[in-house]
């Protein structure tokens, strides 16, 4: 099953089991979303549980907060993460702090889904990875799946969560794993081992990372599309790296991360977002603090360059396996 089908399926199961779950956003109703993640839901659950909205991300999130305060569990879609900014005030100032400021009297169990990341020639406004703008905001949980099964389990857990969850979907791996080799034929999840998705309702707990490739030479901390890039780089370098898919960025699964780095003594942080003040900075800061006496080399970061995401130069920008491999070798030599 593709990640899109897995996300659609998660919506379907959540709506079937809890009639407080409502789904809305731009083009999500009749059409089922520009990426089809909500296909068929309006037909099945009716227009008042799944509907199109005006083009106002603020309105989508603000209305969702009000509905959550009423007692519903909205799961809304922002068409691209690049378009979450108009809603940022409602997310940061309202959703994230409502429980706190009302001492638990009003709460905000909403999920805000948004496709993130590049690799589709979407240029600067269809390629962004704004996760660090959420991890800095206390009161939010931030989730990034890398496989269809995780997308389903994590989304179901997010919808069931009592607090606001930002659910970032790496659109480049919606249809199949992408390891950064843009010149090679694309494989579909349908024909890929990692494409297996369990039937029925299940939750993949938030705050738990997964070790997708064990190893003891060095630790790679990553998430989303970059998990697959990391796996390719490991294979191509032959370096026995341990690849950790964080899955939830906040709260972070610190134990799994630190245990691995203490074991390997080397750490590479990998993400597609721009380097400066990216989430990799927080990971590097925590790793060097917790594992200082185990580190053989400084924590290295491979990330998007500090430029807007360009169109023609997409593959010069995208941190592909070659860049990752180069950094891995450098780390091993350090």
């Amino acid at each position: 099953m593709t990640m899109i089908e897995a996300i659609q399926n998660a919506h379907d199961l959540a709506m079937a089991r809890d009639d407080r779950v409502v789904v809305f956003g731009e083009d999500v109703g009749f059409f089922g979303g520009v990426f089809r993640c909500t296909a068929g839901l309006q037909k099945k659950y009716g227009k008042s549980r799944c509907f199109d909205t005006p083009i106002s991300e603020l309105g989508i999130v603000g209305a969702a907060i009000g509905m959550a305060a009423y007692g519903l569990r909205p799961c809304v879609e922002i068409q691209f993460a690049d378009y979450m900014y108009p809603a940022y005030d409602q997310i940061v100032s309202e959703a994230a702090r409502l429980r706190y400021r009302s001492a638990g009297e009003f709460t905000c169990p909403i999920v805000i889904r948004m496709p993130m990341g590049g690799g589709i020639f979407g240029a600067q406004t269809h390629s962004q990875s704004p996760e660090a703008l959420f991890t800095h905001v206390t009161g939010l949980k931030t989730v990034v799946p890398s496989t269809p099964a995780d997308a389903k389990g994590l989304l179901l857990a997010a919808i069931a969560d009592p607090d606001p969850v930002i659910f970032l979907e790496p659109k480049r791996v919606y249809n199949g794993p992408f390891d950064g080799h843009h010149d090679r034929p694309v494989t579909s999840w349908r024909t890929h081992a990692m494409g297996e998705v369990p039937d029925g309702y299940f939750e993949t707990p938030l705050g738990v990372a997964s070790i997708v490739q064990p190893g003891d030479a060095l630790t790679i901390l990553t998430y989303g599309t970059m998990v697959h890039v990391a796996l390719a780089a490991v294979q191509e370098t032959g370096i026995a790296a341990e690849v950790i898919d964080l899955r939830t960025l906040l709260p972070l699964d610190r134990e799994t991360v630190m245990e691995s780095v203490r074991k390997t003594g080397r750490c590479l942080v990998l993400h597609e977002a721009t380097l400066t003040s990216g989430y990799g900075a927080e990971l590097a800061a925590q790793v060097q603090a917790d594992c200082f006496y185990h580190l053989e080399a400084p924590v290295a970061r491979v990330a998007g360059w500090d430029t807007p995401y360009p169109h023609a130069q997409e593959w010069d920008y995208f941190p592909g396996p070659a860049r990752v491999a180069r950094q891995m070798r450098a780390l091993m030599e350090a």
Partner: protein, 410 residues
């Protein structure tokens, strides 16, 4: 093209600044009772006039006249008067408490008491308000304990929001009062969302959104009108036009539109403009708008014309930007004196009973204040503690916050 004269920027200015003598005689105030009362299901286009007038019930003689009159019993009016007196007495004491350093900050309602107290009486028990910091009358008129309000203002141990919020940022789900945000206007679209939620569930509860004249310029105001208009949300969209946004007069936010109520017309939303210092008019307009929402006819915009007599907050000194005399020159009078005159006219009230009621109000406040201060103030006694600081960020405290709480020593 260049044979045209040069362009110039138009920057609206209030008519009077400190030193000038305000003169509202040119401001045309419709006679009480002169504005028609359409059926709630009348076509919005046919009601456009109601956004460019002022619905008023109490005339100069203190009589209740016209089609918007006759909604409330004497008992209800006496209640209303007591609510306004209580709110005014409460404000006075809390202002003084702030000056005495018992808390950090305060915001009063002087001159605007009728709006929130009268509106509350038009709502049902399960309806929800999304207020600003200037609608504490909603709590008082719904019987919320003064003591709790004071504990919030003092951020003491009994503060329902555990010392986390700025004074006057109350919250009471039970009393239909949504947690106040310091970010202007954000609650406006949330109110629409709450109302949509009620409609989605086939409930009968409605919501009321609150905003000030200045804040209508914010993004959330637009989103609220768009969503309310599209989904016909059962919500009352209140705009309290008290003429000022801190030092900025309402003309800067209003621009070329004649009134704030007119904003509704861009969306096909019916709009009423009401005398905000007339308890009866506020209540009648509120009831009309609430009825529309309850009957699933959709949203109504209601602009309350009033005047912010006091400073914006305890951090503000209005004499720097407007004439001291402006509030006394303001033509719509004082909401308490106007209701008082009406009740005396009805023979239901007297100067003596009024004086007595004022005394009772300040006693009630003083008693509550003694209790509150026995618990603590921002500086003394039993205060909201540092441990509270780490709670409620999430339903369950995540490991990194537990670690930080320990590091902080709790």
């Amino acid at each position: 093209m260049d044979d045209h004269p040069p362009l110039a920027l138009h920057v609206p200015e209030p008519e009077w600044r400190p030193g000038d003598t305000p003169d509202f005689s040119r401001v045309e105030i419709p006679r009480a009772g002169s504005v028609r009362r359409p059926p709630v299901d009348e076509d919005p286009e046919a009601m456009r006039d109601l956004a460019f007038t002022i619905i008023r019930v109490l005339n100069r003689k203190g009589e209740a006249v016209g089609p918007w009159a006759g909604e409330l019993s004497e008992e209800e009016l006496l209640d209303g008067l007591r609510h306004m007196l209580l709110l005014r007495a409460y404000d006075a004491r809390m202002l003084m408490a702030q000056r005495q350093g018992k808390t950090s900050f305060y915001m009063q309602h002087l001159g605007e008491e009728a709006i929130s107290t009268a509106f509350r009486k038009a709502l049902g028990p399960r309806d929800m308000n999304f207020p600003t910091y200037r609608q504490a009358g909603l709590l008082i008129a719904s019987g919320y304990p003064l003591l709790k309000m004071m504990c919030q203002v003092y951020s003491n141990e009994e503060d329902p929001v555990r010392g986390r919020q700025l004074p006057v940022f109350y919250s009471s789900k039970e009393h239909g009062f949504f947690s106040i945000s310091g970010n202007l206007a954000t609650q406006y679209i949330q109110a629409v969302g709450w109302a949509m939620g009620s409609a989605i569930r086939g409930d009968t509860a409605i919501s009321a959104a609150w905003i000030g004249d200045g804040s209508t310029a914010e993004n959330d105001f637009h989103a609220a009108l768009v969503f309310a208009s599209t989904y016909k949300a059962p919500v009352v969209l209140n705009i309290v036009n008290n003429q000022w946004a801190i030092s900025t007069f309402q003309g800067i936010a209003r621009g070329g539109a004649g009134t704030f109520a007119a904003r509704g017309h861009g969306f096909g939303i019916p709009a009423l403009r009401v005398d905000g210092n007339d308890y009866l008019a506020v209540h009648a307009a509120a009831k009309w708008a609430v009825e529309r929402a309850r009957r699933n006819l959709g949203p109504t915009v209601v602009e309350y014309v009033t005047y912010r007599v006091g400073g914006h907050s305890t951090s503000d000194d209005p004499s720097a930007y407007r004439p001291k005399e402006e509030s006394t020159a303001w033509p719509l009078g004082d909401p308490i004196l106007r209701l008082k005159a009406h009740l005396i006219g009805l023979g239901a009230w007297s100067e003596e009973r009024h004086a007595q009621a004022e005394a009772e109000a300040s006693d009630t406040v003083r008693t509550a204040q003694r209790e509150a201060e026995a618990i603590g103030t921002l500086q003394t006694g039993r205060r909201a503690g540092p441990r509270d600081m780490f709670e409620d960020v999430y339903a369950e405290m995540p490991p990194h916050l537990v670690r930080q709480r320990h590091e902080a020593g709790y």
